[in-house]
Amino acid sequence: MLKVEEQQPVEFSSALKEKFDEIISRYPKGKQKSALLPMLHEVQAELGWLSPNAMDKVAAYLDIQSIEVYEVASFYSMYFLKPQGKYMLEVCRTGPCCLVGAEKLMNHIEQNLGVKEGEVTSDGLFSWRGVECLAACGYGPVLQIGPEYTFYENLNEQKVDELIQDLRKK
């Protein structure tokens, strides 16, 4: 994953632009703003987060104001407005998962990684946070890891330790 600093200029690859154009073609002419959410997912998958420069570029590409991108990126919970660890562990913290031990699991992750919710480990590999219901209540506790949102179900402390170990080796 490419590391992009706060002020670093952003250039979109031709592959990404091709993807943008395919997305824009899904909507009627003049309604290209509909492509905003899917495009932001693509940008975040490539850069790891949405830097202001990246969002400005997206605005220019869609011929809309930058503020229209900022307000969307800050409204939805999946978009990162600051850099995260390479692997962002998002643990469901809503009712049904808590009935089967999600809170204990989050405490365990905090201990294992040695960072608080929302912080990044010193090697830049991991961050974690509690997120609201992921619609997998029957398989809880669950966590997901972007950008493909790979899903891990029926977790316990041991399974999470193994997962973190596997990701470290990657």
């Binding site: 009627p28 959410l37 969307v72 999946m78 009712g95 609201e132 219901c133 619609a135 029957g138």
Partner: protein, 455 residues
């Protein structure tokens, strides 16, 4: 064993692929609808079926379709609501993961009925794996001539696209979903105008839940009258129930509407009883937004008759002694769960997910979360309990969209049925930190329900 309409072939290996799905009789509904029926006749079959919206509101789908405005020369849209985010609900994820062509087939039939030539499936962004599955299924269907131009030589054109959301519960509300699909923040719109008149891009639009759309497939295959024979009263057909919490076998079950709740919880065909041999304390029958019910009122109505899994029976008794079918997210709490903690958790959820447009919801959800937090952590006052009721009453009915109601009901119902547990937290500020109130403190402990085995 009840008849399965949606999940009949769920265990067939490779059913997520077009060829296998087709071999098992898939896409017959498309052939039947496009070749032998007019769009109005399809709408008529859905009306006859009595199908009610499976997303939570329970509004008759056929009637919703018949409201769609059809001005000359204006595009019409069908948008599938796959922004499944209601805590306790995960049936749509299950359906899209394992049998995606059921949704694609339903989308084609429904789009044809509404005269839509472009349709979108709005999937919550976190379900990226399901988005990939649907995109693949759409490509397969297109390849086989079931999507695109001149489908099956009938002259009907349909393009189908998958749209990812950005992570916001509010986008499950249909007008917020349309805003989001237009690339904006998910702020619900003031109604009227309803989407049937001015929806996506200001054009007439129908928004339906994944399960409602998939249900049109058996309705067209077997006829609306056949579908209406299943179920009880105005709750026709089958329903996917997502069962979670402290159950032996949580998961997604397709039930005939009208199944007794007791059988659903305790029979081996369904959830298999409460996990770890414990007793049932309470349930939330239709996703976190609906009122919580203590075990005795879950299993039986106030008059002692058994409660059934149907729209009418679950809401029997109003909010005093009933709940709601909602989206079918069935959450079971065992005797060791803390109602105050769970209510606080749900309040935090609604506070987090409030879009912030209406002050009663924006401020009220945060206020309730804060008060519940202090009760749960031993800093509450007796007056806080009535304060919560008061705040919830002032949110309810005073917001643009139903998120306000959805935030108010769980709090109001938890206090209505478990007030003694809230009071205990205030009276025992130290004890409540490491022990739970449990069942033992009830004047009349809820008896262990009798286990009934499946039919």
């Amino acid at each position: 064993m009840a008849r399965k309409l949606l999940l009949e072939h769920i265990n067939v290996p490779g059913i997520n692929k077009f060829d296998v799905y087709r071999q098992k009789g898939g896409y017959r509904a498309v052939e039947k609808a496009l070749k032998t029926l007019t769009p109005d006749e399809v709408v008529e079959e859905v009306k006859k079926s009595g199908l009610r919206g499976r997303g939570g509101a329970g509004f008759p789908t056929g009637m919703k379709w018949s409201f769609l405005a059809k001005p000359e020369g204006v595009a019409r849209y069908l948008v599938c609501n796959a922004d499944e985010s209601e805590p306790g609900t995960f049936k749509d994820r299950y359906l899209m993961t394992h049998i995606p062509h059921a949704l694609i087939e339903g989308m084609i039939v429904s789009s044809f009925a509404l005269g839509a030539n472009t349709s979108y499936i709005y999937v919550r962004g976190e379900m990226m794996p399901q988005i990939r599955i649907l995109e693949k299924a759409i490509a397969e269907a297109k390849n086989a001539g079931f999507l695109g131009k001149n489908i099956l030589g009938t002259g009907y054109d349909l393009e189908l696209y998958v749209q990812p959301g950005g992570g916001a519960y509010i986008c499950g509300e249909e007008t917020a979903l349309l805003e989001s699909l237009e690339g904006k923040r998910g702020n619900p719109r003031i109604k009227p105008p309803f989407p049937a008149i001015a929806g996506l891009y200001g054009c007439p639009t129908v928004v339906n839940n994944v399960e409602s759309i998939a249900a049109t497939v058996p309705i067209i295959n077997d006829g609306g009258d056949e579908y209406a024979k299943i179920g009880i009263g105005r709750s026709t057909g089958t329903k996917l129930i997502s069962a979670s919490g402290n159950l032996v076998r949580p998961g997604v079950y397709e039930i005939d509407l009208g199944l007794p709740v007791e059988e659903f919880i305790y029979s081996d065909e369904y959830c298999g009883g409460i996990a770890n041999g414990k007793r049932l304390k309470a349930t939330v029958a239709g996703g976190s937004s609906v009122p919580i019910l203590p075990a005795n009122l879950t299993l039986k109505l106030a008059n002692g008759e058994p409660r059934l899994m149907s729209y009418e029976s679950l809401s029997e008794g109003g909010f005093a002694t009933g709940s709601m079918m909602g989206s079918g997210g069935f959450i079971a709490f065992d005797e060791d769960q803390c109602i105050v903690r769970n209510t606080w958790n749900f309040s935090r959820f609604y506070h987090h997910e409030s879009c912030g447009q209406c002050s009663p919801c924006r401020e009220g959800t945060g206020w309730m979360e804060k008060v519940l937090h202090r009760i749960e952590y031993g800093h509450g006052k007796m007056s806080d309990i009535d304060l919560l009721v008061d705040v919830s009453k002032k949110i309810e009915g005073n917001t643009i969209c139903p998120l306000g109601d959805a935030a108010a009901w769980p709090v109001a119902s938890a206090i209505r049925h478990f007030r003694d547990e809230f009071e205990w937290h205030v009276k025992e500020p130290i004890k409540c930190l490491d022990t739970n109130y449990g069942l033992a403190n009830y004047a009349e402990p809820i008896a262990k329900a009798e286990v009934t085995t499946g039919n």
